[in-house]
């Protein structure tokens, strides 16, 4: 049953993370005070600039800029940069690393890896006699890794300073229909409610299991519980639908748009846009 234990623990951790995120979003920091719509637009703009820029200094400038925003938002630097570096390493550096070789990126070899007796030609590909890491390849890996790091940083900055629901609602500014946003909100919410139910069911089951049991029995128990949770979620959906009907739902949803833009949002918007324009010009 170890795999079930692990899965349930992971689910509980995710729920706990949600509480942590809600707490960080309530801190008295720079980004927490800004309107979610402004943050959503900034996030999209920033990701666009990150993708467009092809120079290492510009990407480094963006990294520095986001680092300052994270600092001003009073986020836990160690916790947030652990995640950023994890994603940056696996989805940026490791994936891009082979492109540092002259097999993929031609250029000046700065570190020799292997030497063959002669070059090999295969279809449109050529494997040179001398295989090594090129300066141009390193530059490419650096750019790609920084792009991933910067994109993850800006997304985590927004996620940690805005409650998820507020962020979803802010997409109203992009003219996404309210009904679609409500579906996302409901899905997110019931994942947490059902995960708590699953955790409780599992603990109740565990408390009644004595001694060793066969794998076939475990499979039977687990599949039975999966079916039960499915039935439970279906019943919950029907009840929630009734609750929505009882409060005037007619198939079209009107969501509260939230507060309007304040003076500080306008000032912050101009400042953030200004920095992004300077980085583009760089």
């Amino acid at each position: 049953m170890t795999f079930i234990d692990t899965s349930i623990t992971k689910i509980a951790e995710i729920v706990k993370t949600n509480y942590v995120q809600w707490e960080t979003a309530r801190k008295n920091g720079l980004f927490q005070k800004l309107d979610p719509r402004l943050k959503a637009v900034f996030m999209l703009g920033c990701v666009a600039v990150i993708s467009v820029k092809k120079e290492l200094p510009a990407e480094l400038a963006i990294s520095g800029f986001i680092f300052i925003l994270i600092l001003l938002s009073r986020l836990n630097l160690i916790r947030i940069y652990k995640r950023i570096l994890f994603f940056g390493f696996f989805f940026g550096f490791l994936i891009a690393l082979p492109s540092a070789l002259n097999v993929i990126t031609q250029g000046d070899i700065i570190f020799r890896v292997a030497a063959l007796s002669r070059p090999y030609h295969f279809w449109i590909y050529t494997i040179p006699a001398e295989i090594g890491i090129t300066r141009e390849g390193c530059y490419g890996v650096g750019i790609l890794s920084l792009r991933v790091v910067n994109s993850v940083s800006v997304v985590l900055l927004i996620l940690n300073t805005t409650h998820f629901f507020e962020l979803v609602r802010s997409f109203k500014i992009l003219r996404i229909p309210d009904t679609f946003l409500m579906i996302i909100i409901l899905t997110y919410k019931y994942v947490f409610i059902l995960s708590k139910t699953i955790e409780d069911i599992y603990l109740a089951m565990k408390s009644r299991l004595v001694g060793s049991i066969r794998n076939s029995e475990i499979r039977e128990i687990v599949s039975g519980r999966i079916f039960y949770v499915f039935k439970l979620s279906r019943m919950r959906y029907e009840e929630t639908y009734k609750a929505m009907l009882a409060r005037g739902f007619t198939g079209e949803i009107s969501l509260n748009a939230g507060r309007g833009f304040a003076g500080r949002d306008i000032v912050a918007g101009i400042a953030l846009a200004g920095v992004l324009i300077i980085i583009i010009i760089l």
Binding site: K189, E239, A243, G248, T250, L255
Partner: protein, 271 residues
């Protein structure tokens, strides 16, 4: 007083095999407080859901202010809006009722669906937050509330629509004494402001506090009796028959014994 809701010979069963209600005739007048009591599974919640037209009787009819309420009638946008704003239903399980991102959104949902503009909705939400003593919860996500807070928000979200008829399904179930006391006072205030209130419960203590007219559902899903609170709560044979009081062990000092026992109405040591 005119009848606000009337049920005529209403029957309902789940999946056509599990009976929930059988031949119910019941009328509720304007401004009245009615408690529907019965043991678990007697059909109290089903009765309230039929009154709020969330489900429709398989036989018999529901009338709201003398007009028959049918599925077809509720498809008319104008009528649906009028009916939903007039009849508020508070679910036993607050989790199913709280489907919006935050407490503020939850309370604003009803008024927005009814077509109120943002500023009128904001004013109404502010009033409800103050009425329910939950101003400090306004920005909190609804799945991060305690049981008592969820119940307050659930009731607030319905009151925001200013309904004239309130249907409360087991409103006190699983709540701490402070919240129970708050909600009991709230029900009194709502009754005094001429709201019609229907409460489904098996909590005889609550019924004793409120002293409403009572409708008793039997275990075979029929309406056993209706009457004033003193008449029904004083009818020991009736309460035993519908399984609302029973014999069970309890302690008197160092002595443990069993007899018919209702923790507030009577304490019969004759047997």
């Amino acid at each position: 007083m005119k009848n606000i809701i009337e049920l005529k010979n209403v029957s309902y069963s789940y999946y056509d095999i599990v009976p929930a209600l059988s031949g119910i005739d019941l009328a509720i007048s304007e401004g009245e407080t009615l408690a529907v009591i019965g043991s678990n599974g007697s059909g109290k919640s089903t009765l309230l859901q039929i009154m709020s037209a969330l489900i429709h009787p398989q036989s018999g009819s529901l009338y709201y202010r003398g007009e028959r309420v049918t599925e077809k009638k509720l498809r008319e946008r104008q009528y649906q809006r009028m009916f939903r704003s007039s009849v508020g239903y508070i679910f036993q399980n607050s989790d199913v009722q709280l489907f919006c991102p935050t407490v503020y959104d939850e309370i604003a949902f009803g008024p927005l669906q009814l077509g109120l503009d943002e500023s009128s909705t904001a004013a109404r939400v502010s009033d409800i937050l103050a009425l329910m003593n939950i101003e400090y919860l306004a920005e909190r996500p609804t799945h991060m509330l305690s049981g008592g807070e969820k119940k307050r928000v659930a009731i607030g979200s319905v009151l925001a629509m200013n309904p004239e008829l309130l249907l409360l399904d087991e409103p006190m179930s699983g709540l701490d004494p402070k919240t129970v006391s708050f909600l009991t006072d709230l029900i009194f205030s709502l009754a005094e402001s001429d709201k019609t209130i229907v409460i489904a419960t098996h909590d005889l203590e609550l019924v004793d506090h409120l002293q409403p007219r009572i409708a008793v559902l039997s275990e075979d899903h029929r309406l056993e009796k209706t009457g004033a609170a003193p008449e029904i709560l004083g009818d020991k044979e009736l309460l035993i028959r519908v399984n609302l009081i029973h014999e069970h062990k309890h302690r008197h000092g160092k002595r443990v014994h069993s007899h018919l026992h209702s923790h507030f109405l009577f304490h019969d040591h004759k047997r």
